[in-house]
């Protein structure tokens, strides 16, 4: 972000030059500009360059983008209504009419698997976003200001952190799940989002807090303080730009955890309710048909595994790109 500020004057100057019709740049000037452009490097740009060279990470990124694309555009990609039951074709193997076969009440599994991508992606994505905002905000405030503020916030976080997150998710989903039975299944998704946000932030808060604790003592922050920058400016201009890469790594691992937990809650019957399709639910229902309708559990298992692998490799890739020294 600091970099962008430095670029601005030159850009405005150039624009001014063009408006004043000073003519095209000479080859020498153009070359100089080219060099200046290539030499401009920011932590973000360097990280992106390293990330692009890592084929596993790029493959993971593409997979994640495809998954989001499929989930968003499911209404244009599906073949049959997900709730339509065809009693003449129960538990069918994959065929031209039903690409992934049908389930035990004759619903098209291709369409259900497509729509089934939505709950895990949506819930984990929103849950992670809230986790990141809460965790970063509280962690920054606690770590940067220290003293009494830090003491109170850190103790509250300790209690939340000691609480086994999965159990908290389990009891919240089971006690409050039934109360959120509205908007055709969106209510259940909402309770899971809230649950994940509550479960997720303490871990990230501790991470951000320790980062800002160590960064607060470094010279560039001291320099910023010496020239009279406000707290807000130091946090937003100096601390955050140096942290967001590492926070992004934590976020992608949080998404993995949330996708995993969402599937497990579905397994215990606490996730998104019927007739809404959900990959975890499809997987569990499919295992009941194991042995004679394998397409019913193979495809959801495959999709869930690919999702989890993709986000894991994405997180690893971002970490290697942001912090090359940590590479094993």
């Amino acid at each position: 972000m600091a970099q962008r500020r430095e670029e601005l004057p030159s850009q405005s100057l150039r624009r001014a030059g063009q408006e004043a019709d000073l003519g095209a740049l000479t080859p020498a000037e153009e070359e100089a500009e080219q060099i200046a452009k290539t030499r401009i490097s920011s932590p973000g740009r360097d990280a992106w360059r390293r990330f692009r060279k890592n084929w596993a990470a790029m493959a993971a990124l593409v997979t994640v983008l495809i998954a989001f694309f499929v989930a968003i555009f499911a209404p244009f990609l599906h073949t049959t209504n997900t709730a339509t039951m065809d009693f003449l074709s129960l538990n069918q193997a994959p065929s031209g009419a039903h690409w992934f076969g049908t389930d035990n009440i004759g619903r098209d599994l291709y369409s259900r698997d497509l729509y089934g991508l939505r709950p895990p992606l949506l819930i984990s994505f929103i849950g992670t976003s809230i986790t990141v905002v809460l965790g970063t905000l509280i962690g920054l405030v606690a770590g940067y200001f220290g003293g009494m503020v830090d003491n109170i916030l850190a103790r509250v976080t300790d209690v939340m952190f000691a609480f086994p997150g999965f159990i908290l998710a389990l009891i919240l989903a089971s006690f409050y799940g039934s109360a959120f039975n509205f908007m055709g299944g969106a209510g259940q998704a909402l309770i899971l989002v809230i649950v994940f946000a509550i479960v997720g932030w303490p871990g990230l808060m501790r991470f951000v807090r320790s980062l800002s604790l160590s960064m607060r003592e470094q010279q560039f922050v001291e320099a910023a303080r010496t020239v009279g920058s406000s707290h807000w400016k130091i946090i937003s201009r100096h601390l955050l730009p140096n942290m967001w890469g590492l926070i992004l790594v934590q976020a992608s691992f949080a998404i993995v955890g949330f996708i995993y937990t969402e599937a497990i809650l579905s397994l215990f019957g606490l996730g998104v309710k019927e007739p809404n399709p959900d990959l975890g639910k499809l997987l569990i229902d499919g295992t009941a048909e194991m042995g004679f309708n394998d397409a019913a559990w193979v495809f959801p298992s495959l999709f869930l595994t690919i999702l989890i692998l993709a986000f894991t490799f994405l997180g690893d890739g971002i970490r290697d790109a942001v912090d090359p020294r940590s590479r094993g």
Partner: protein, 316 residues
Amino acid sequence: MTNMAAFAVRRFLAMVIVLYLIATLVFLIAHAAPVNPVYQALDQKYTPRAAAQLRHEFGLDQPLWRQYSNYIGGLLHGDLGKSESRSTLGESVSGMLKRGVPVTLKLGFMALMLALVVGLPVGLISAIKQNSIIDHGTQGLMIFVYAVPTFVLAPLAQLVIGAQLKWLPVTGWGDPGVLGYKEMIMPVCIYAAGLAGYFSKSFRSFLLEVLNQDYIRTARAKGLQERVVLYTHAIKNTLLPLASIVGPVVAYLITGAFITETLFSIPGVGNFTVESTVNSDYPVIEATVVLLAAFVVVVNFLTDIFYALVDPRVRL
């Protein structure tokens, strides 16, 4: 040593406060919930009279603060109350826990041991042979078993090894005789798979980090055998970071077993915790959650103490 004692006391007090707050939080979550446990317990036999009687029996007709003090007092005395759900109505929670906890701990510790026995040597070999085919092959496999979720791996194993090849029983736990051990193999291996991948991945990177240090170069430069460098210089220095990842794994050993227990119908804590959440069985949920949280908090406390003993800087 005095500041060690002060550190231990300070951490112990913090632990007690955290435990108390967790117990309170669980109580509040359970009692603010918009579900009626009495209604669920009676189900078909619901009459206002029976409900009132059950309410009285479980003390649910008392004011909330009274229920709270009963609950905290019970916890302090080790009295965890009685089950309120239909299938186990009136059974004491401590009895249920006494049956479930050993099963879960056995599963967890066997899986942990297996994961350490497999994961650490694999991590060691791939660190020594860094960037060789062996390294890439084993690490690829380890990342795979680490990332493939249990709920995918378990049904697959049950289908192939259990139902089709008939080598091992599909579900169950602890029947007497040879079958008992056979039943344990699959769940323990499945539970250990993810942990083994995690350990080997982490141990490899710890070891590589240490092997890049100056003192390793010094040890090699003065002509020590590679074996001595590796075992006395390198591995010793990976023990502390290793403890920092094994500690939390131990703390979450019971919670981590939930999925394995459910998929293999193992009668452990996870199994009846899940059942009690579905049945809104307050006393069982309160007791198990407090117990599991206590386990996590106590193991974290012990890890901290261990750290402080090994690394004096932590005590400050």
